[in-house]
Every structure is written in C-alpha cells, then in structure tokens.
C-alpha cells in the first residue's frame, strides 16, 4: 500500500487543481444515491490522475520503475474523487474499479487505498493498481463503483497515449470546483422508515425479499416503509410444508397395484407434492403472506442440500424442508443442529448409521466445506486470507475431516412409526423425528481434534461430541462471511463488495456497532439480523444500480414466480399438468429441477465465474444454449397458455390475470410504462421501448382480443429480454 505524505498530496493537488465553476457534486447523476465523480481536466474527460509514486501524469508505465512496493510491481495510479459517500468502516474494499481499452477488453483494477485529501474538503484520493493482464494498451476509460453505483468514466493512458474507446455518449468533463465542497459527515445507514421508499426501490426490494413484486405488494411496502415491512415479515406465523404421511420404502407396499397407483406414487414417492406446495406458497399474493421466509428458506435449501434424487420420498423431504422454513429467520446454530440430526440429511450424506469402524466421511466433509466455513480461511469481508507467500490457507485438512467423521458416529433413526395404508397399519421408518443414539457403543470415543485447536476429550457421549463439534463449527470466524456472502448472492447480487460482505458478517457475529438496535441481542448467528443487514444495506438499496457488474441472473424458479406474480396468477402451484411423478415440469426444463439438484453442490456453484467476464454469476452455470431458449419458451407458455388442466387427480392449473394491464392496451406508451415500472423498475431503455412499441403496434385495435394480445406481446418481449434476465 502506498501512503505518500500529506505534504506531497497537497502539492499534487495544487499542481492539478484547476479553477472551475462547474459544480459536479450530488444531483448531477440522478439516483437515490449520489454517484461518485472522478475529477477530470477542464475541457476533456481525461482524469486528473498521477502515478502514486512519481506523481507524474499519464501515460503511465505498466510497472513501477525501481519498484520497492510489495510483491506486485504494477503501477499505482491516484485519482481524485467527489461524492464518495463511504460508510463508517468502509475503505478500499467498498470500491471496485474497471477500465476498458480500445478493443473493448475490460480490466478489473484492484483498489488499494482511499482517504480524504487533507485540506481539500470532500475530495478523496483513490489509488488503484493496474491489472496484471494489461499490456501497453494506450487510452483507457476507467470508472469506480461504490454501493452498486458507477462514477463517470474518465480517460487515462497506459503505456502510450492515444487509441482507446470513444467517449461515452453524453459524457462531460468533471473538473474540480474552484472551492472544494466541505467534507460531508460520514453517512449513517438509512433508517428506511415510513414513506421513505420510492416505487423503484420497492420493486427492487421485493425482487430480493419475496418471490416477485406485485402491484399491490409494492404499494404495501411503500406504505409501511422497508424497515416496518421487514419487521412485519419477520413476525409472520410460520407457513410451511405439511406433515406428509411416512410411506414404506417398498413402493409395492405403499402403492399396491391397482387403479390409482400412478397418482399414489406421484404423491408419496416423488417431489411432486413439495413442488406443488412450493409454488402455492410462492404465489400467495395475499397481504402479509409469508414471502420473506420462503425466499430465505429456498436460499438455504441451495446451501444445505438434500436432493430428491436420492431421497425420493415426499414425506422424508417435507420434514427436512420444514426445518429450513422453521429456522430460516431463527438462529444459524439451530439450523446446524436440526439438519445434522434430520434423517433425510442423515441418509443423503451417510451420517445415519455411521459406526466407529470406518466412519463415513461424507457428512463431516460437507458440513465444513459447504454448510459452514468453506475450504479457505476467510477475512471478515469474505476475501481469502493469504500466507506470507500470497497463498490461500486451507481452513481444514483431511485429518480434520477424519476427526469430524469420528464425531458423527452412533446416530440412527428413532423408533419406527406406523402409517394407515389401504385400511391397514404399516410399519414405516421414522424419517420424521430427529435421529437418536441407538447404541452408544457405535460411537467413536477416542479424543478428537477439531477446528481452531479445539480438542474433544475421550469418552464423551455421541450427543456431547456432536454438540461440541457443532459449537466448534458455528463459532469459526468463517461462518459469517461464508454464509453471508452466499445469502447476498441468492437475494441481491452475485458480486457483492467485500465491504458489504463484512457488514453482513458483522451482523452474523452480533457486532452491535454494525447492527440495527433491535438486532443487538448478544447472540451470534441471528438470521433476522443477517437478513436485515443484507436487505437494508446501501449496496442493496436504491432506485437504480449503474455498476455494470451489479445484479444476479434470475434463477429459473425465480423467473417463473416473478412472471406469474407480476400478472396476478391464480395457481395451485402446479406448473405442468401431471398425473404421475414423471414428466418435465418447467423448472426441470430450465435445469433447476425443484428439490432435485444433481449433487450436494446444488443446482449451480456459488463461485461460478461467467466465462469471459471475470466476475461471478452462479446461476449462469445452468444458463446453456439449451436453457437460454427454453427460458423464452417457458415465458411463452406462462403468458399465452398458462397451464391448462383437463384431467382428474390434478389440481387446478395456473392462469394469469392481465386485467389491469389490458385497460392500458389502447395506449401502448402507457402499457409499456406500467410494465416497465413493475418488471424493470423503470430501467427499460428508449431503444427497447421503441422496439416493443412497434411490435405492440402490429396488433390493431380492431383485432379481436387486441388488449390481451398487446399485453402478452409486450410482457413476452420484456420478460424474455436479456435486460430482464438479470435482477439488478
């Protein structure tokens, strides 16, 4: 890190401060958040930037001459920035920087330092490092991003001057004001009280905190304010999966050959009843429906995976999903406890029946790697800790796994239950109640070495070992950033800034300085505090996010629910009319087969990097050539067909209601406005509006059903557009 003396700063600033009357402070870039402004020369967009060591202007050399600074020899460049509204505790890890060369190639520039320029009011200096894969590229356009909001793009030269991308349309110089604006006090997080919520932010909030905005719910959020709305959601009574009857593993016993066998198999030996219930809950559009819990619970389902591929019994899975619903807004330690002893999980990851001889390592490995701490030691902000050689530090070894495998020995199913099938009581395995210690002799009683130097003494009971081991995992400092970052990715954005992750991790750690007062409970791992920190963070909130790397691909399940809810779908949740357990439902077509992920790694990997972009986009892992077109086809099916129902033994199907939009159909501009507001929080570009307007115009008002056809046309084009695929 480079920290020149303040006197050198001042001299640099004096050399570079240009008289200018143009004020480029807050307001120049419309948003609920002020956009950072990188200062430029008076008449051009060339940045006032200096080599942080030599204080020379560009063109900058690629490497620091006579390099003496740390391991990386790349040149550091200092910019001067206004409107950098950093929160308390935020530093360089809140900012990202990106440059584009004349060939359109983009480079991430690590931001190494940010601090106020002494004596220059609100002006801050930001130091970035040239990226390792940059050559003698000539001119670049470079920007900073903070809290999802992008600065102006400014020009610098690397290697030589010239070339480079053309100016951005409408770009203007941003010279330093003659008198630097006074330093503003550090902003405090918005309290998000009543009447503080804009329509656009309410739409964005409901994309993050529910299964999709509806016109009515947007109004409710705006009426109560975000914070009160969240509190109301936190206090909704639990709505979850019913207690399905346990069925014997022998399908011939559970569904004896007779008429109705296919329906019986569907209802007891497949994920169908759960899929049905899932969509019923997700599409509940009544006021005060239990949406936030459902959304968080589904994120947890993708972290703590039990797949119906291996656990194909509806009842077994229902008791597992109930845990996620019950604990989604509770405490993380309880989640660990309950899933560890859940018999479906015990079956899925081979903890059930684990003996002291050759204990199975599967659960031991996955609870560490996937459910809690991950493979590398993490900083509070989720970035990997590095050793002196710059390498990642494993958070556990194979030996740790062996020790945890020995902890998880001795557990098995509680006593059998009975289920009434065809008028007779049948004994069934107990996949409902938590597993118990059936024979203490099956437990490995030797001492065990756990994480962070914690050792379990010998001769402890199965329960004592298990509780101590789960405490050990729960208290590992990785859990907050590891789980927090994934929850942010599931709800808000795929590439959160480390500063955002650290705020959420501090909420997990019950760091009261980072919490809303109501969350300061002196209890670690409170999911409400974590969810509140995620959803009310400045990086989550705002009308429009201009950071080009912001957002997340709508995962298939969410694409379906978002479209259905926007159009007030009446649905029992069944998205394909099926009379048997087989048959592709819509989520399966989009490679996110609901409750049937391929492996314990879920439907996609949290760290999946979108090819060619250098940034993460987990759900892109299941966006293939096939599923890209199927997404459009699923939207086509939903908007034009619904899901008709014509057979017995299937529920009532899915139908959309376009009435409110049909009333606008004679005026395409109003129709598109309304759709833009609800689906795109008013970010549809003028060019896109024109294309959609033209298509809508192909349906004359003389056409039978013109109103419905126009709504469908416009809705299809928006919901299939690449702009809509990304929630941002």
């Amino acid at each position: 890190m480079i920290e020149p003396t303040p006197s050198r700063f001042r001299s640099a600033m004096r050399r570079l401060a240009f008289a200018c009357a143009l004020v480029c402070a807050a307001g120049a870039f419309s948003s609920t958040q002020a956009a950072p402004v990188i200062l430029t020369e008076t008449a051009t967009t060339r940045a006032i930037a200096v080599d942080a060591v030599t204080k020379l202007r560009d063109p900058f050399p690629l490497n620091i001459p006579g390099h003496t600074v740390g391991a990386n020899t790349r040149t550091r460049i200092m910019f001067f920035v206004l409107n950098l509204e950093l929160l308390a505790g935020e530093g360089a890890n809140a900012l990202t920087a990106e440059a584009e060369d004349g060939a359109g190639r983009k480079y991430a520039l690590p931001v190494e330092n940010v601090m106020p320029v002494p004596g220059f009011g609100a002006v801050q200096q930001v130091i970035v490092r040239l990226s390792d894969d940059m050559g003698d590229v000539g001119d670049l356009l470079m920007r900073l991003n903070l809290h999802g909001v992008s600065s102006n793009r400014v020009r610098i030269s690397v290697g030589h001057a010239g070339g480079g991308p053309p100016e951005d349309p409408g770009s203007v110089p941003a010279p330093a004001p003659a008198t630097p604006p006074a330093a503003t006090p550090t902003p405090t997080p918005n309290q998000y009280g009543p009447s503080s919520t804009t329509e656009a932010d309410a739409v964005r909030f409901l994309e993050q905190a529910s299964w999709g905005p509806t016109t009515a719910e947007v109004a409710r959020v705006r009426a109560s304010g975000l914070r009160a709305y969240l509190e109301q959601q936190f206090n909704q009574p639990l709505v979850t999966y019913p207690d399905y009857p346990l069925y014997p593993t022998d399908t011939a016993l559970g569904c004896p050959s007779s008429t109705g066998q296919a329906v019986c198999l569907r209802d007891h030996y497949s994920m169908y009843p759960l899929q049905w219930k899932f969509f019923t809950l997700a599409l509940d559009q009544r006021a005060n429906s239990d949406q936030l819990r459902q959304r968080v619970s589904f994120a947890l389902h993708q972290i703590f995976v039990v797949s119906g591929r291996d656990i194909p019994y509806a009842a077994w899975m229902s008791y597992y999903l109930q845990i996620l619903d019950r604990r989604a807004l509770g405490n993380f330690r309880d989640i660990l406890q309950d899933i560890t002893l859940n018999p479906a999980m015990g079956e899925y990851l081979n903890m059930r029946g684990n003996l002291r001889t050759n204990p199975n390592e599967n659960y031991a490995r996955e609870i560490l790697q996937l459910f809690s701490i991950g493979t590398d030691e993490l900083n509070l902000d989720g970035t990997p800790k590095l050793d002196a050689q710059g390498r990642r530090i494993p958070s556990y070894t194979q030996d740790t796994i062996n020790n945890f495998a020995r902890v998880f020995t001795g557990w098995n199913l509680a006593a059998n239950k009975q289920t009434m099938i065809n008028g007779a009581l049948v004994n069934v395995f107990n996949y409902q109640d938590p597993m118990i210690v059936t024979r203490e002799q099956n437990h490995d009683t030797a001492a065990k070495q756990l994480l962070n130097g914690v050792a379990l003494p010998p001769n402890q009971s199965s329960s004592a070992d298990l509780n101590a081991a789960l405490d050990n995992i729960f208290n590992h400092p990785n859990v907050g950033p590891f789980i927090g970052r994934q929850l942010i990715q599931h709800l808000v954005t795929s590439n959160p800034s480390p500063a955002y992750v650290s705020r959420v991790a501090r909420a997990f750690n019950n760091d009261c300085d980072a919490l809303y007062t109501e969350d300061c409970t002196n209890v670690r791992g409170q999911m409400r505090a974590v969810v509140r920190a995620i959803l009310l963070d400045p990086e989550a909130r705002g009308d429009v996010k201009t950071d080009p790397n912001y957002g997340r691909l709508r995962e298939p399940v969410q694409l379906i629910t978002n479209v259905l809810r926007a159009f007030n779908a009446t649905s029992d949740g069944v998205l394909a009319s099926r009379t048997s357990a087989s048959g592709g439902d819509l989520t399966n077509q989009l490679d996110q087969p609901l409750f049937l992920p391929t492996t314990v790694f879920s439907y996609y990997t949290p760290t999946y990097e979108v090819p060619g972009t250098g940034i993460q986009g987990p759900a892109f892992e299941i966006l293939s050539t096939s599923t890209a077109l199927r997404r459009a086809n699923v939207v086509n099916t939903l908007l034009y067909n619904g899901v008709p129902v014509s057979q017995p033994n299937v529920p009532g199907g899915t139908q959309l209601n376009f009435t409110t939009f049909e009333q606008l159909a004679s005026n395409p501009a109003q129709l598109i406005d309304a759709l833009d507001a609800l689906l795109m929080h008013r970010t549809l570009s003028q060019a896109a509006r024109t294309a959609i307007t033209n298509a809508v115009g192909s349906i004359p008002q003389t056409d039978a059903n013109f109103a419905r056809k126009r709504v469908q046309m416009a809705a299809y084009l928006i919901a299939t557009s690449h702009q809509y695929q990304v929630q941002r």
């Binding site: 983009k106 894969d133 081979n350 050759n358 199975n360 390592e361 490995r365 790697q369 493979t375 390498r391 990642r392 494993p394 194979q398 795929s494 080009p548 790397n549 957002g551 997340r552 391929t598 492996t599 314990v600 790694f601 990997t605 979108v610 090819p611 060619g612 972009t613 250098g614 940034i615 986009g617 892109f620 966006l623 293939s624 050539t625 096939s626 890209a628 077109l629 459009a632 086509n636 099916t637 034009y640 067909n641 060019a687 896109a688 294309a691 033209n694 298509a695 192909s698 056409d703 059903n705 469908q712 046309m713 299809y716 084009l717 299939t720 557009s721 690449h722 702009q723 990304v726 941002r728």
Partner: protein, 474 residues
Amino acid sequence: MVSTRRDFLRQGACALVGGAALASGIRDFGLVHAFAQGGSPATDYKALVCIFLNGGNDGNNTVVPVDQTRFAEYTSVRASAGLALPAPGQAGGLLPVNPVSGGAYGFHPAMPELKTLFDNRQLAVVTNVGTLVEPLTRATYRSGTGRLPLQLFSHSDQIAQWQTSVSNDTSVTGWGGRTADRAAHLNGGASFPQVVSIAGTALFATGTTTRPIGISDARTPLASVLPLNNPPGASGYTTAQTNARRAAFDSLRGMDLNHTLVKASRDVTEHAIQTSIALANPPSGLPALPDFPNVTLGYQLEQVARLIQLRDALGIKRQIFFCQLGAFDTHSGQMAANAHSALLAQVSQAMKAFYDATMAMGVQNSVTTFTLSDFGRTLQPAGAGAAVGTDHGWGNHHFILGGAVRGGDFYGRFPTLALNGPDDTDTRGRWIPTTSVEQYAAALATWYGLAPSDIPLVFPFINRFPTANLGFMA
C-alpha cells in the same frame, strides 16, 4: 532471439508457466492463445468424446489385478466387508483381460462389451491417473515436501481440476476448451461451435475464446434441440404479428449491452439462436445409426453420433464432446444390483454402441472416446454388508476407446493394493497418482492435432512430468 510475434508469445507464456507467477497468470494464458492463433484448416476429421463419471468411480472394482498375489491383496481388504468381486471363472466373476505388455487383470463383470473391445485392441486403460501439480511419492506426500493439488478428496474441487487440468489454482477454463482454442484454425471458417456438451454446462468445455454449446440428448431430434416457440395457435396471433414479435425479440438483443451480466445472458441466447438456425435443416438421406441403449449415457452418445453425422454439412473438422453420467459417489450400497454394477453396465453398453455407430459412419479411426471422474475411491470399504461402500480417493483407472487407440494394453503404473502401502496416502487405500491428468489429456490433445509447442500452453505443468505423451494414441 525472438523471431516472430507468435514465437515471442509462446516463449513468454512458457516462461510464465515456469515461474512463480502462475497463480495469477492462468488468465493470461488464454490471452496468449487468442493472440497466437493461426494456421491452415484441417482436411481430415477428428473428434474427442469425454465421458465424465460424476461422483468418483470406484476404479478399484473396475479394473482388478487377478494374478494370485495381487488378487489376494485385493480380497484381503475388500472381501470381509462384502466389497470384493469374485475371481474370473466364478459366478459373477471378473472378466479376464491380458494386456499386451503383460499382467493379468479382470474388468468388472458388468462390462463384457469393454472386455471385447479391449481384446480387439480398440480399448486401452490408463492406470492410477489423477490430479497432480508435480510428481509425488508417498514420502514427498507425507512429509509435506511435495506440492499437492488443492482440496484433495473434495468432489467439487477435484471435478474442476480433472476438467481444467490446473490443480494448484482455480481456473476458469477447461482443458477441452483450451484445446479447442488452439485448434480453432483447424475448423477453418466453420461457424458451428467446436465444443458441444450433451450434459449441461461444463468447465471442461469452456475455453478462453471457445464457447461450448449445450444441447439435449437424443430424445430430442437435432432439428428441434434448440426451438424458439412462437405464440401458440390459440393466442390468435396472425403470421404478421408473430413475425413482428420475433423481429422485436431479435432486435432487442442488439441493445443495452453495457451491463456485464446482461450482455453475458444475451450472448448465450445469441449463440443459441445462431446454432438453432444451423441445425434446423439437416441434409436428407442420412443413413440410420445402430441402436443405442435407452439409458442416460446411451441417449447422450447417440446425440453425439448424430452430430458427427452432420460434420460435412456443418463443414466442421474438429469436434470435442462432453457427456456425463452421475451417481458414482458410492459411499454406501455399492454392491446393490442397481448401484455400481448398473452404472458400469451402462458405460460399457453405451460406449460399445457408440463405437459401433462410428464404425457405421466409417469414422471409427477419427473418433476417440475417453473417461474422466472426480477421483478413485478408497480400497478400504466404508461400512459392511448391504451398506458397504467406499470413500473419496485419488488416483484412478480410465478407459480410452477408438480405432486410433493403441488398444489391448495398460499405460502407466498399477498401484500396489495395500493399505499403508507404497502408493497409499495414509491407511485407507487412496492411491497417490503416478500419472497426471495432464499427461493423460496431453496425449489426447496431441492426437487431436495440437502442435508439441501448443501442449505446454494448454497444460501448464506438463513439463514437470517425464513424458507429455503416454503413447496410447497411434
């Protein structure tokens, strides 16, 4: 002396590979590829077909030594828990194979088709191959002096490393994709993607410049693998209105591309539309293919065969395919009838059907099929009796099939089947690989048409190993 820009780039990349900068240099690697491409289109056709056995196939029950000494070692560890396969000649016993270079082995009894292909010298086995950063011994492994792959025994990491060949870092490109990057010129101006996945998105298939396509298996005809549906008839749209919708759908893809993820989503769709157009009108009169088994891998390989059949119509000379079969993570119940043996039967039957199809098309010498998997599994059983299974291991045995394969033989060293023995990481029978994934892959990439100078660019650690070509390809 630097003679050409291309040589310069190559030398630069090699220097990079040798240096400590590799961790941060993996991305640059691909950039070098993109800059340094050039050369003439190929005149012949060649295809590589990857079959990924997801979950970690138990190679210890797939290929078993059956000489008296080593079979006794095998049964001494696996028999009492009920995990050992019977000797050749016994009921349900191993199928004997005799490699050209010597030794007596048995294939799993569920694989008679692969035994026949081996006997006919169309199939080879590479033994104890696995993820490595550098050659290791039990001593260097256990003392910690050897550099190890990251996160051994972890599914996700080992799957990634088998597919990327980069074992000491996270790579965003796979070796199939990088091989395709280097071979792009061989396809001339063909617009059809060089790499096709029949099993969804796969890191293996992604290169720096290569973008794979993903299509459904053979249950969907090629002409309709990538449909874009029109408004349904009941919607009452006229042809003009349907066309207007499609025109707007297409024009929207040209707009608003400044946002990274939005553009990435758009790029996938654009690629799909272009591919859909290419597949929509196959030539008529293509001969029927032999039957494939109606199972996951059969459907996938049948679709591969159908695409190969279109090679001339698409004007394509080099193709890489990715298929995958799951459920190999046999922690328990491994010996059940529907478990490991059913999976291997599927592999054997589907590979045989695919080989027959290449014969029918006359391309059996131009198509090479090979297996990959997360890792091998512990020789020592996990559990016993009906619940018996195996845990995550490391080195494993793999199959290569095709007319260009020097078949009927084993390549590499076979591990000593002893717990706490010379090849074991510890005491459970996890084999320290004696052949690296990169050596295995480089032999395939070389056959595919990569120049010797390309090999270290695609496989960054290859020069740490004694040979870049194991010799199993003719």
